[in-house]
Symmetry: C2
């Protein structure tokens, strides 16, 4: 049937039949180029990209060839994760099953806000939530939702905890209602009648952003010191909790939320959950575990019982399958121990929710503070089916073994020094050359010199990170990345560090 | 090179080369089935879906055939937008250019948080933001970001306005800092020292959720009455603003934010922006325009000067290309008049932002309260190139013409009655049969009877909506949907309403 709109000039299935194979070929060639040695990025500087990439939004539409050229242009000006040499972030190349999932999501174009609009995707999300809750040791009353990223999940955790802890007073009157509750029911006064979040000094900045987003302000976040291995100091946490709780006018406020990190951004440190959970129970705090990075270790039976021991006592957990499970962006989950907490902030909209019961809410937009959502759980679902639970655990274990071997190699090399490390080691190694070019740069300067050289060369992308002992290169060990890539990188860095300095002749 | 992880057992380009054509064929067949008359959904009730769709997350991985079967199963248990008969929501089938964009995004797997990780996608987003800001009449200092949905954009607008209006005091101390500012600098007292958001009674519930998310509480939202056509009453808004501003102890607080709606969810009403903007200027309020649905009318030179007149005076605008421009989910933009406002809530993270200048911030995560983001602007960019600016305007105009014709048809039919309508008409028509089966159900009951019958039959998906005059079927006129579909739907509804009632014999 004919559409009156120029957007729909021909049957979509025909346009798709014509274009999809071309796009697929384009992508496949780009993947292969990455696998076969292409640079990790086409340019080294922002200026170069801005000079070379010419975008345009034309008045008149373009034909297939021009559209395909536009797509090729975007690919050719992008970081190529298929090189396996993009090691700068906590994500790497995605699973092919995710790519398939994205193709389906796009074709279904369903919003996972009400069941009737997205029945299968709703059930897929429910299934993944159920499985994760089981792995983390949550009880039958648990629930969860996907969110567009770890920061969004962490923020929803803070908002959910506020609604749950302070109920209708917070819902209606926000932070004001909360101050009133803290004053009237807890006998708090002055600045002591403000709610406070406690988190480790090494936690992700999204915890601070969550406090800002939720109207508590950045001063509401108490950064508890961490130990040399990047873990929040449990003793310091205990002291802060006791001090803040005992003094009703404590200038840092009243603790209501503790964020523990399972897999910190720089070191990959895991906070000690059983001890922290005990403190949270004692002081009546919501325990949130930001396991955006490290949560995937739950698939490894060994790590589940060590690094992740205690998750079953958390009130909420953030987990990003788009990081360590190689699901494509975005795929993040917020899991909550008590399903009822997730609908505490529900707002009824008659034009949307036709069955506003909160007992078993199949309309999942009731569980977020947003409305429409992409069905991102599908990409995890397909990856999980493709790989299986057991192999997902082996994937993590393989990564940790590789990290241990690389650390041994770095430690054994006289030209390299390691920085602060998580204990036990997870998947990050902070290291740097002791010196560049027989002393031209040392310490942080040596790390920056290598970073700059790698940026220029575009063969490897590796980030640097500040630590308590200065700046280091942060090696992220992605389990999917072939070990040979890391060996080549280490060879190259030591060569760069020990080579004679080549000064351009004037 | 060999990976140590079972997730990466073969070269991705080979796995993709094998699977992508199969997935593409699966999708293409599903699209075609939709175009050729398949039901809009396979089942009528949640129970049926839960009985028939068997999901599983196996211990052992599955081969290609099983993975493809899992994908087919998901498609077969989903709403099929390619039928053109899914008319229940403010989105429809997406452009094929979006589908191509999603394939690329998935393969690039870049997070648009820092320029170095996503150079081309950062520039694509910048280009789309620039073009939209121009169309809406924003000045050179404007900026914007994509967000995962209109609710997220509206929420970021509230948070941005708070940071902008109350600066460091809000950043540090959140709502407390804001009360202090209102008390000390504005002489407000008691409940009057709380910030208030004003919005039309017909606005989207995400404005209430944004107030809750930002820690202001739902009572901070003042719902200004709307007229019979769904527009916020400007006189009532003026009275509220004057009253609340004059009384320093006003129980509803101090106005700081007005949300105007361009294209409301039920009626498609457009608030009168020039008058509202003048009031906002007079009372020092941030004017946000929630143009999630109606903002796409900016492509029509005629509607830009009528329905959208005054956007150039807004401080921020939400626009969802995933609605009326048929870009696939999610694709939403928040545009701001003053770029500096977007970085007011930036929090520095040394491990992420290596160039933390705020003048021209290419690291776009500085502009949101989140961190990683999918490069959703690419799907708009490709759709725009495919169709061109001019035809995007014709797309909207064609939709409005179609809505006008359908309204005339409904009005002319003795068995149908129209409900409240926007004036001028946009793309929604609320209507219902005057009665079912010679009087078996009337009014809202007749609307519900048709809704239930359509649900059962699964040929058309149409939602109902509450209005001031009772419940009506809400016809959403999607410009891309062939006019013949709407004619068939109207024929069918009148047939359902006027048919003899068939009572099952006992």
């Amino acid at each position: 049937m004919a559409s009156a709109s120029p957007l729909h000039a021909e049957a979509s299935s025909e346009e798709y039949a014509r274009l999809a194979p071309e796009v697929y070929a384009l992508i496949q060639a780009w993947m292969r180029a990455g696998e076969e040695g292409a640079p990790v990025a086409p340019y080294a500087t922002q200026d170069e990209y801005r000079r070379h990439l010419r975008l345009r939004l034309p008045d008149e539409g373009e034909d297939d060839a021009a559209l395909l050229a536009a797509m090729r242009e975007v690919l050719e000006h992008s970081v190529n994760p298929w090189t396996d040499r993009f090691l700068a972030k906590l994500y790497a190349a995605p699973t092919v099953a995710s790519l398939c999932g994205d193709m389906l999501l796009s074709a279904m174009n369903a919003s996972v806000h009400v069941f009737s609009a997205s029945p299968a995707l709703t059930m897929v999300e429910e299934e993944c939530v159920r499985a994760f809750c089981g792995l983390f040791g949550f009880g039958d009353g648990a629930d969860g939702v996907t969110m567009p990223g770890g920061a969004a999940s962490n923020t929803l955790a803070v908002q959910t905890a506020l609604c749950w802890a302070f109920g209708g007073a917070y819902r209606r009157d926000g932070v004001f209602g909360l101050v009133q509750t803290l004053t009237e029911q807890y006998g708090r006064t002055g600045r002591g009648a403000r709610p406070a979040l406690l988190t480790g000094a090494d936690s992700h900045f999204s915890v601070d952003r969550a406090a800002l987003a939720a109207g508590l302000g950045t001063d509401a976040v108490v950064h508890v010191e961490s130990d040399a291995q990047g873990r929040m100091c449990v003793d310091a946490l205990a002291r802060m909790l006791e001090e803040m709780t005992r003094d009703p006018a404590h200038p840092r406020g009243m603790p209501f939320f503790v964020n523990a990190t399972s897999g910190s951004t720089v070191l990959g440190a895991f906070d000690e959950l059983p001890e922290i959970a005990a403190l949270c129970a004692q002081y009546g705090c919501w325990l949130h575990v930001d396991a955006s990075w490290g949560g995937a270790a739950v698939f490894s039976p060994r790590l589940r019982g060590t690094l992740l021991r205690g998750t079953e006592r958390a009130q909420s957990i953030t987990l990003n399958p788009h990081k360590l499970l190689n699901v494509s962006h975005q795929c993040s989950f917020l899991l909550v121990q008590d399903a009822r907490a997730l609908t505490e902030h529900a707002i009824h909209a008659g034009y949307l929710f036709h069955d506003p019961t909160t007992a078993h809410v199949a309309d999942r937009a009731m569980k977020t503070l947003g409305c429409g959502r992409r069905g991102e759980a599908l990409k995890l679902y397909l990856t999980w089916r493709r790989v299986g639970t057991r192999a997902l655990g082996e994937h993590i274990d393989a990564g940790v073994r590789l990290a241990e071997r690389l650390l041994a190699r770095i430690r054994a090399h006289p030209a390299l020094e390691v920085g602060p490390l998580a204990e036990p080691l997870f998947l990050q190694i902070c290291f740097r050359p002791r010196a560049m070019h027989a002393g031209a740069a040392r310490g942080s300067g040596a790390a920056h010199a290598i970073y700059a050289a790698l940026q220029r060369e575009r063969r490897f992308a590796v980030d640097f990170a500040p630590t308590r002992d200065g700046d280091y290169l942060r090696l992220v060990v992605h389990p999917r990345t072939p070990p040979a890539v890391y060996d080549a990188l280490l060879d190259h860095i030591t060569a760069l560090a020990t080579a004679e300095k080549t000064t351009p002749s004037c």
